[in-house]
């Protein structure tokens, strides 16, 4: 059972365990977000909504929004834009000259990147991951970042089911962008199921239902082929 709290709700007396989404006043822990309480070592309130805020170490899918030497300005589905320095790209190659950056990454290209640093002024530095360039392969599904843990499932159960039953390569980034690669029909199925998960997040037994849904889909399809 989920415990939903609203901002200002008292959660606990143990101030030293206060984590994300909470604040401490007079030695007591209160909720700062409208969300669900998660009590492990830390007491957290996982927000039910809100914009993606990058944190150091997050792996995100970004869209090149602008080129401004020596940076690529990257849209990472957050209120803040991120920056990618040319040196990130040029490793082991010739130096990228002013004006030739678009040959490597152009506006509207999608990349997989890791958040290297977020400073107090919300200046965000990115680094490229291997297999960073997503040009023209597969498709992109965008979901609210708050639903990402649900699509991954407890210790990856949901995503494992999805990958197996949909026969797709699926990559979920922290900022709510999902990269799917597979045949057209498989990708259609995968995106449909992901939207189903998003719409039915915060219901119990979702993984089982998704498994059933996918199994029955496969069965129907096989039947259809037999006819």
């Amino acid at each position: 059972m989920y415990k939903v709290v609203v901002p200002g709700d008292f959660i606990s007396e143990e101030a030293e365990r206060a984590g994300e989404g909470t604040y401490v006043e007079d030695g007591k822990v209160y909720a700062m977000n409208y969300g669900i309480v998660e009590e492990r070592e830390e007491i957290k309130v996982v927000a039910l909504s809100g914009k993606y805020m990058p944190a150091k170490g997050d792996v995100v899918i970004g869209r090149i929004a602008e080129i401004s030497f020596p940076f690529w300005i990257v849209d990472i589905a957050s209120p803040y834009e991120a920056r990618l320095h040319v040196s990130e790209f040029a490793e082991g190659r010739d130096k990228i000259e002013f004006g030739s950056m678009s040959r490597y990454l152009d506006v509207d290209d999608f990349i997989v990147a890791k958040v290297m640093d977020v400073n107090v002024l919300m200046r965000i530095e990115l680094a490229l991951k291997e297999e960073f360039k997503m040009s023209g392969v597969g498709r992109l599904v965008e979901i609210p970042h708050t639903k990402v843990p649900r699509v991954i499932g407890r210790s990856g159960s949901m995503i494992k089911t999805l990958k197996e039953k949909c026969n797709c390569f699926i990559f979920i980034a922290k900022n709510g962008r999902i990269w799917i690669k597979g045949s057209e029909a498989d990708m259609n199925l995968a995106s449909e199921v992901i939207l189903k998960i998003v719409n039915e997040a915060h219901t119990s037994g979702l993984t089982d239902r998704v498994t059933n849904f996918l199994d029955s889909f496969r069965r129907d399809k096989e039947k259809g082929e037999e006819k």
Partner: protein, 248 residues
């Protein structure tokens, strides 16, 4: 004011709409009514109908008004031309600019602005139908819409007006009572800590009446807070039920 005092607002210890002196008008709350807003809330208090929408945090325009250390709150209170008996001339006027400012400042102590440097958090509150006490209804709706948008806050803000009619201090004035009464005093408050974040007064109250009115309003804010909280909590228990129904 003079011809107004001739009209009786209290008959046999009851108000014109049959309420007691310390009774609120019925309140109805709906959350997430606007699909494209980050957070939204539709709220009715008696004959008042307001809709609040929250957008953001998003980039602050104009840029020179950005704050490098924290988010800027924008609050727009607006009355629809059809919200009152005589058509209201559309657009901001002296009154709505003032209410926007006061309401924005009512949220200042609760919103954790330092989490979003350089951004704007935009609150739009539209009055669709109005029968006195729209600014307080707007604050109540905006509070829920902000929570729905996932904006980090220390608390919710609750708001209500008290006034004086026929020499009695009463809660939550209607339009007729407001126009013909002696005083109207809207307040906004953080229920958990009893912190008053906005207080205005129009008309005359004695020191004793002010104290009594304030106590009355603060009590009512606690009631409203419970309604706001219940609506937010119910939203997620409801979505679970809905899913269960769909499955059956």
């Amino acid at each position: 004011m003079k011809e107004g005092t001739e009209r009786k607002l209290i008959i046999d210890g009851k108000r014109l709409d049959g309420r007691g002196f310390e009774e609120l008008r019925p309140i109805k709350i709906e959350i997430g009514v606007l699909k494209r807003a980050d957070g939204s809330c539709y709220l009715e208090v008696g004959d008042n109908k307001v809709i609040a929408a929250v957008y953001g945090p998003r980039e602050m325009h104009p840029r020179h008004a950005q704050d490098a250390k924290m988010a800027v709150i924008k609050y727009r209170y607006n009355m629809a031309p059809f919200s009152v008996d005589d058509r209201k001339r559309p657009g901001p006027d002296r009154r709505s600019v003032e209410i926007s400012k006061v309401s924005r400042e009512a949220f200042d102590p609760v919103i954790m602005k330092e989490y979003y440097p350089k951004m704007a958090i935009e609150v739009y509150v539209e009055m669709l139908q109005s029968d006195a006490g729209t600014r307080t209804a707007g604050i109540n709706a905006a509070s829920i819409a902000l929570a729905d948008a996932g904006i980090p806050m220390t608390d919710l803000v609750s708001s209500i007006a008290v006034g004086k009619i026929d020499g009695e201090v009463v809660l939550d004035l209607t339009g007729v009572e407001d126009n013909n009464g002696e005083a109207d005093m809207p307040i906004a408050m953080i229920a958990r800590t009893n912190t008053i974040t906005a207080l205005q007064m129009d008309g005359h109250l004695t020191k004793e009446e002010f104290k009594r009115g304030l106590k009355l309003a603060m009590g009512a804010c606690h009631q409203i807070y419970e309604l706001q909280r219940a609506a937010l909590i119910e939203r997620y228990s409801k979505s679970e039920e809905r899913e269960e129904k769909k499955r059956d």
